[in-house]
């Protein structure tokens, strides 16, 4: 779930809880406050009534036979009633206040009623003072409705605001991801700048990424220097030995047996230097020491490689069948690497082909990507070896004594460097097919 949504969601839940709590508590509080006011009023009125009775006497008030009195205002919102009591109530002298349904002239309405017992002229009386609650009930209803609406509107506004705010807050985060991580294909292209943000955490993240990338960049730089040093340190002694062997071989009175041994040493030495060079080459590709700034016509390079290999093709009498549906131009690539890639695949196709065999070079366009297939009619590769065919130092054929198989690993590295997908299919005794899919660099 997106952080933005999450933040909004949690906020909404939190606000809903608060809203519900307010919705429940508010009416209760209001009720209590209102009752409190009413009660105060009722007490005041009771006192006032008692004073009137003391000054004017009860007899003036009670005129009827039943010795009771009732007075209501016209809307039946308030009333006073005095009635004689036959026995002493338990809480004599104290006021009791309660809500009661009171029937006033055939209309039942909820009232808050204060009742108090008192003694007048040796007779027990009860005075009741009531105040109608219909307005209060109305008020409660109104407040409840208002609360619900209010909560709904506030929640809606708050969700919208939260969404916008979260997006605004997360803007530097998105900037960090796109500019500092996604756009960086190689540490060397990393630019150490700061994303504008006032959020401490994002500044911290930005800073941490910067620090990490500088470390990675340095590691690459160290590797680069290491590669240069290794080439120098290893190739110089090889160079000495190779030239010495050449000088020994040119000595006129050299016994033939010694010469044979020297030739063997020469072979070993060349092999050693080829391995080192191949490994350095791979390291350099991985370290991105090759530029990708050239345009290449793929067909032209293929022709060039085939011309280079014409003798080998002739020696095995291999026929090359080409079918290009159109000329393909590659951009953002390194010509010499593309050349090596095709050379390695084609020389492989010759090497493991049979006499009078064939090599099919064909282009196609599945899924809008340009594809080049190089298929031979050779011995094929066993299925269980196929996944390792691009691994360094894997050798499958025992007769391949001198081969340490770096041609295909190099091809793979070049392919990765150029965003080319390289796949291999093979069937024993039928042949092997290499398929290159140019994901980004091909254009028609």
């Amino acid at each position: 779930m997106k952080l933005q949504v999450k933040l909004t969601f949690y906020n909404a839940i939190f606000q809903a809880v608060i809203a519900v709590a307010i919705g429940i508590l508010l009416p209760i509080v209001i009720e209590r406050v209102v009752y409190n006011h009413i009660d105060k009023r009722l007490h005041a009125r009771a006192e006032k009534m008692m004073k009137i009775i003391q000054i004017g006497g009860l007899d003036d008030i009670i005129k009827d036979q039943e010795c009771s009195y009732g007075d209501y205002n016209i809307f039946k919102e308030e009333y006073v009633s005095i009635s004689p009591l036959s026995s002493m109530p338990a809480n004599f002298g104290k006021d009791t206040i309660e809500n009661a349904e009171v029937n006033i002239e055939n209309t039942v309405a909820k009232h808050r009623v204060l009742s108090r017992g008192f003694l007048y002229d040796n007779q027990l009386y009860k005075i009741e003072i009531g105040e109608g609650l219909s307005t209060v009930e109305q008020l409660k209803l109104t407040i409840n409705k208002f609360t619900i609406w209010m909560v709904a509107i506030v929640m809606l506004i708050s969700i919208l605001m939260n969404m916008t705010l979260a997006q605004l807050l997360l803007m530097p985060f998105n900037a960090i991801i796109t500019r500092k991580l996604k756009a960086i294909h190689h540490p060397n292209t990393f630019i150490e700048d700061h994303i504008k943000t006032s959020t401490y955490e994002f500044a911290y993240l930005d800073q941490s990424i910067n620090e990490m990338m500088i470390k990675v960049k340095n590691a690459f730089q160290i590797e680069r220097e290491f590669i240069t040093n290794v080439s120098h340190e290893l190739l110089t002694p090889i160079s000495i030995l190779q030239n010495r062997i050449e000088n020994i071989l040119s000595e006129s009175n050299l016994p033939h047996e010694v010469a044979l041994k020297m030739v063997e040493s020469q072979k070993t030495l060349v092999r050693l230097s080829k391995v080192i060079k191949a490994l350095l080459y791979i390291s350099k590709i991985e370290n991105e020491q090759f530029l990708r700034n050239e345009k290449v016509n793929l067909k032209a390079v293929t022709e060039e490689v085939l011309e280079e290999l014409e003798d080998r093709l002739a020696q095995k009498d291999i026929r090359v069948v080409q079918s290009w549906d159109e000329e393909i131009e590659l951009s953002n690539c390194n010509r010499s690497l593309i050349h090596t890639l095709l050379f390695n695949l084609l020389s492989n196709a010759i090497k493991y082909n049979k006499e009078h065999g064939e090599i099919f070079i064909s282009s196609s366009h599945p899924d809008n990507h340009f594809q080049l297939s190089i298929r031979d009619t050779g011995v094929g590769v066993e299925g269980n070896h196929l996944p390792y065919i691009f691994d360094r130092f894997k050798r499958f054929r025992p007769d391949d004594e001198m081969s340490f198989g770096l041609g295909l690993p190099i091809a793979k590295k070049i392919a990765i460097f150029h965003d080319i997908k390289i796949e291999v299919k093979s069937e024993m005794a039928t042949g092997t097919e290499f398929i290159l899919t140019f994901l980004t660099i091909a254009s028609r």
């Binding site: 000088n247 060349v270 080829k274 041609g407």
Partner: protein, 226 residues
Amino acid sequence: MNVLIVEDERQLSHEIEIFLTKQGYQCDVAFSGKSASEKIYVNSYDFVLLDIGLPDYNGFSLLKEAKQTAKESAFIILTARGSTDDKITGLDLGADDYLSKPFSLLELQARMQAILRRKHGLKNNTIEINGFILDIQNRTVSFNNTPINLTKKEFDILHYMALHKNRVITRVQLTEHIWGDVLEEDYESNYIDVHIKNLRKKLAAYNNADFIETVRGIGYRLNMAS
């Protein structure tokens, strides 16, 4: 021909010196950039073999400087750094050629001769072997004005052997010359033998091609009265 070998690795400069002296070159050796700079200033050399990775001097600035003082000299860069950028920089600064270590001494000599031919615009750009005429410029071989159809590689082999006539060239040396740029490990392959076989066959159709001699277990030699 005077050659200055600028190489801090003494064993290596020694081997180069032995080889070139045998080939009739006058050799001088400098083990540091400073001494090289002085020597180039004082003496005039036909060739300066310059190691780019000198301990005391940036090889490229030495090259730049030396190009000023010794305008007539040909410069061949020797490097073990093996970077294509180095090659481009070197050639841009006016070096005549570039060899990455390890290189064959025969290759060095071939490059030196090629530079000489280029520099002095030699009119006689042909080599004659037993009636076969090698045209170096146009890379063709003919016999009695009849062109012989050789592949590029066959011509290269014949030319290389002619350059190093009367000495044994090992299969490794020939392979390195022809396929040197390619990072291949196929040294047991019989490509060279097949090339030689085809070459002999093509030449023998016109005249005796016995001058290409097989030296058992080692390689080939082109015999030619000098």
